[in-house]
């Protein structure tokens, strides 16, 4: 195996106000020509910093402190900056997560591709143009003659990422680094982009370093896999071996935490605690604090990589003695969650939310954006209705219109038989306690200027839950316990908590006013998979204990399979298919549902 790219003992630090952060702490890996190597890990594990270190494109606070990066015979870390620039784009290219910000907004797409060609070859003028057209065609951009003169904002997210890929591949690099290339994209677009990457890699025989947090993508794309945790690679293996029997306890947990239909019977496995801050020095195994299998030696002595058979390596003391068993097969039939015909709590009929488009001298309304266009659904007591759709399908708007945070244009929203649309602010207040909402972004959903106790008390005070302050204080204590937060959380401010803990505070805030229905608007999509498992378990436990109904808005079908009783699939402001979860996901009737299901990369 001849390595196209080889990292040995790479160390990278980042200066932060809290001290020196060792983001990459001794990473070794080698990628062969024509190989797709996946680097997997949760946020903050150092995978992006590893990629940026290869190209020496670290942010200004960052610096490479040790190790080597070899590209064939060339030591990249020893090159002067000018020579490094002849490597970037020419021999090693990179594409980034967010194609909408990674493209220059004021240059045409064609110009940005041409720039690479002109930088690294002697082609000029018409030859460059011809090459740009060829490249745009090769990455599947329709009508390249027209598109090359367009700007990034005129392209859809998928086309933007295709344009990024065209620029990266313009001069046939030997290595392509793709840093979460599809995370910002919808699942159907993601499938297309992954397919394109795989095809281009096959055709050109380049090495692909694919950085991702999604094991499904790894299963679909990778030849070999490395799992990163807290700045180190804890496991490297060929794909098949890795998916058959992951050896590191962390890798095993990552698999177990994945939601899905097979896990419906019980709670998901979760990793307790959180990733340790990388500003500290480690005495033993970095995962020991969160590992159920840890023993005394793990806390004392850092494990060294242990080579198992055929290129499988793992950093774990346990593996000195024995191999881990293969992953348990998915637990047969999804257990049907009790399907009692409960009475509907919320009924939405023919809901429409239109936003006017104004044009011309007098700003006349010339048309409407039909964000929601005739949605009907019902949520029964104690049940979960999942509203599934891709970005722009109008699913979030439905949630806000139900809570009357947005005025619906037409249609009816009935809670327990009472009509809510058209109610005045004061009249609506009577119903506010019954319906609450949990938002997506745990960083934007809590006021950074308020203590947790005040955040939880605000709704109670406003809606008159709890007669006295003392009663409310008692209730706050109980709520925190219910969502699994320590009692001393009350006096603290949101910034002192991690994303998962904040989401618990947000759930406690909604629970504070004793609602019957909670609208969950993508509550786990900003969270890592292990934390997502914690929140999903919590939501399910609360439903069982309190009999809550959920309207669960999400784009993540695995979460739907795990949690939902009923499913409604939304597209373009309308519901295209609706029914019991098993039926919609198991035997989809609508073409779009089928496409959506087919596009999700699966682990198994």
């Amino acid at each position: 195996m001849s390595a196209a790219l080889e990292l040995a003992g790479l160390r990278t630090t980042l200066d932060t106000p809290r001290g020196e952060l060792r983001g990459v702490d001794g990473v070794d890996l080698a990628i062969a020509r024509g190989e797709c190597f996946a680097l997997v890990g949760e946020s903050g594990c150092g995978k992006s910093m590893t990629a940026l270190s290869v190209l020496r494109l670290l942010p200004e606070a960052g610096r490479i402190t040790g190790g080597s990066v070899r590209l064939g015979e060339l030591d990249l870390l020893a090159l002067p900056e000018a020579a490094m620039r002849t490597v970037r784009g020419r021999r090693v290219a990179m594409i980034f997560q967010e194609p909408s910000t990674a493209l220059n907004p004021v240059l045409t797409v064609g110009r940005q591709v041409a720039e690479v060609i002109e930088r690294h070859t002697s082609l000029r003028g018409a030859a460059v143009r011809a090459r740009v057209l060829e490249l745009l065609g090769a990455v599947g951009i329709p009508e390249p003659e027209r598109r090359m003169h367009e700007y990034a904002f005129q392209l859809s997210g998928g086309l933007r990422q295709r344009a990024m890929i065209a620029g990266a591949l313009a001069v046939d690099p030997e290595v392509l680094i793709a840093d979460e290339p599809t995370t910002a994209l919808d699942v159907t677009i993601q499938a297309q982009i992954l397919e394109l990457l795989a095809k281009l890699q096959r055709e050109r025989g380049m090495a692909l370093l694919l950085i991702t947090h999604d094991l499904g993508i790894v299963a679909k794309m990778a030849d070999r896999v490395a799992v990163m945790y807290a700045g180190e690679i804890v496991e490297v293996a060929p794909r098949a071996a890795f998916f058959r029997a992951p050896q590191h306890p962390y890798s095993q947990k990552l698999f177990a935490a994945l939601p899905g239909a097979a896990q419906r019977a019980g709670p998901l496995a979760q990793i307790p605690g959180q990733v340790p801050p990388l500003t500290q020095a480690f005495a033993g195994c970095r995962f020991a604090e969160r590992c159920e299998l840890a023993f005394e030696r793990c806390r004392r002595e850092p494990p060294q990589p242990i080579a198992l058979e055929s290129g499988h390596e793992v950093r774990c003391h346990l593996r000195e003695r024995e191999r881990a068993a293969p992953r348990a097969a998915p637990a047969g039939e999804p257990a049907a969650r009790a399907a009692a015909a409960a009475r509907p709590l919320l009924e939405v009929r023919d809901l429409k939310v239109h936003f006017p488009i104004r044009r011309g001298v007098l700003r006349r309304t010339v048309g409407h954006v039909k964000a929601v266009d005739g949605v009907s659904l019902a949520v029964a007591e104690g049940r979960t209705l999942a509203l599934v759709g891709e970005s722009g399908s109008g699913k979030t708007t439905v949630g806000k219109a139900i809570l009357q945070l947005l005025r619906p244009t037409a249609g009816s929203v009935r809670y327990a038989g009472e009509e809510l649309t058209g109610l005045a602010r004061a009249a609506m207040k009577r119903h506010r306690a019954a319906m609450q909402i949990v938002f997506q972004d745990p960083y934007a959903s809590l006021n950074p200027r308020m203590r947790v106790a005040d955040i939880l008390a605000e709704g109670m005070r406003s809606l008159g839950v709890g007669a006295t302050e003392a009663e409310r204080a008692r209730r706050i204590g109980a709520l925190l316990e219910q969502v699994g937060l320590p009692a001393d959380a009350q006096a603290r401010y949101p910034h002192e908590f991690s994303g998962g803990q904040r989401q618990r505070v947000a759930i406690a805030r909604a629970l504070a006013v004793e609602p019957r229905l909670i609208v969950c608007d993508e509550p786990t999509s900003a969270l890592d998979v292990s934390v997502q498992a914690q929140i999903l378990n919590l939501l399910r436990a609360l439903q069982e204990r309190l009999g809550l109904a959920y309207l669960f808005i999400t784009h993540n079908l695995a979460v739907v399979e795990y949690l939902a009783h009923e499913v409604a699939v939304m597209r373009g402001g309308q519901i295209v298919e609706q029914g019991p979860a098993g039926q919609v996901l198991g035997a989809p009737r609508h073409e779009y549902t089928r496409a959506l299901l087919a596009a999700v990369p699966k682990v198994d």
Binding site: L57, T101, L103, N104, V106, R119, A168, R363
Partner: protein, 325 residues
């Protein structure tokens, strides 16, 4: 585009009316014409007859808003509001205290004002952008640090001292150019060199520092990293990518003042004795010539609104995302 310009022009009408009411209130309601007459004629020893005469000469002897003594159109037109405020809309400014026609005076003084303001504006932008690019290029080095310190120090000096210091050094000590004055034609150059130089130097501190912030902000964006990942040299990154994007916020601040260049610069013109609109305004303020101040307020506002419109239009040139409709 045309529809946009029309709409913006229509928007300007209520704003101009608002400005008109503000100036009217300021000039005629805070103090009555009688008060102004008393003030102009000297507070003591002033007879009612003198006041009436002063008011009659200037047309301040009419009622403020409506004229009960007249009927029909003249009910409204024979008033101070119509004569002094509404007529501003057709650029009829009336006469100054020295009985000269204000509109005519403005026309002749526009030339010298522009001769000073335009070079200051253009050279200033070029110098500031150059300095800012330099600091951004050498960001986080001592060169950048001392550049910023120099900028802050230069910002902390009053513009008056730039003028006084410049006059002293260049004209008085080194006798390079005349200390003040103005001449028509190409002779103007020797009178304009110093004020232009001072205008540019005085603006370096705030200008370069502001542009540096804009450049650094752009340099933190993702597309710059993409450009570097392509292997582009730092200079290509700066000029092709960063500068073009930073031009968008720079334009907001810059284009809006272009029409206001006509107004000249108050302080510099009066220090250097340049017969432009700036010194005209200062003289009027010091002589308490209300008619001239009123006219300049109105012209300044019209030019500012024009500047806002130009700013929006200029976006279409540098930012492809902006489509005006």
């Amino acid at each position: 585009m045309i529809a946009y310009i029309i709409r913006r022009t229509l928007y300007a009408i209520p704003i101009l009316i608002g400005i008109n009411f503000i100036t009217f209130g300021l000039f005629f309601l805070v103090n009555t014409p009688d008060d102004m007459a008393r003030m102009q004629l000297g507070v003591k020893r002033v007879t009612p007859e003198a006041i009436e005469k002063w008011k009659a000469e200037r047309g301040y002897d009419k009622p403020l808003l409506y004229n009960a003594a007249e009927s029909g159109r003249r009910f409204l037109t024979e008033t101070i509001f119509f004569e002094k405020s509404v007529k501003l809309f057709v650029f009829d400014f009336g006469r100054a205290e020295d009985n000269r026609d204000i509109a005519n005076e403005i026309r002749t003084r526009m030339g010298p004002s522009l001769a000073l303001a335009v070079p200051v504006f253009l050279v200033g932008i070029a110098v500031n952008i150059t300095f800012a690019l330099g600091m951004a290029f050498f960001r986080a080095t001592y060169l950048d640090l001392w550049g910023v310190i120099l900028c802050v120090a230069m910002m902390s000096i009053s513009s008056l001292f730039y003028i006084i210091g410049g006059q002293y050094l260049v004209s008085k000590l080194w006798h390079l150019v005349p200390i003040s004055g103005y001449a028509e034609g190409t002779d103007a150059v020797k009178f304009l060199v110093l004020p232009v130089l001072i205008g540019v130097v005085g603006g370096i501190g705030a200008g370069s520092r502001w542009y540096r912030t804009l450049f650094l902000e752009e340099m933190g964006k993702d597309y710059v990293r993409t450009a570097r990942a392509k292997g582009l040299a730092e200079s290509a990154v700066m000029f092709r990518h960063v500068l073009q994007n930073a031009m968008i916020p720079i334009l907001t601040g810059v284009v809006v003042v272009i029409p206001l260049l006509f107004m000249g610069s108050l302080i510099t013109e009066s220090f250097f004795g340049i017969p432009g609109l700036g010194s005209y305004t200062i003289d009027a303020i010091q002589a308490q010539d209300f008619a001239v101040v009123r006219a300049m307020v109105f012209i300044g506002s019209v030019l500012y609104i024009l500047g806002l419109l130009l700013t929006d239009l200029s976006y279409t040139l540098v930012d492809p995302r902006v489509r005006l409709d």
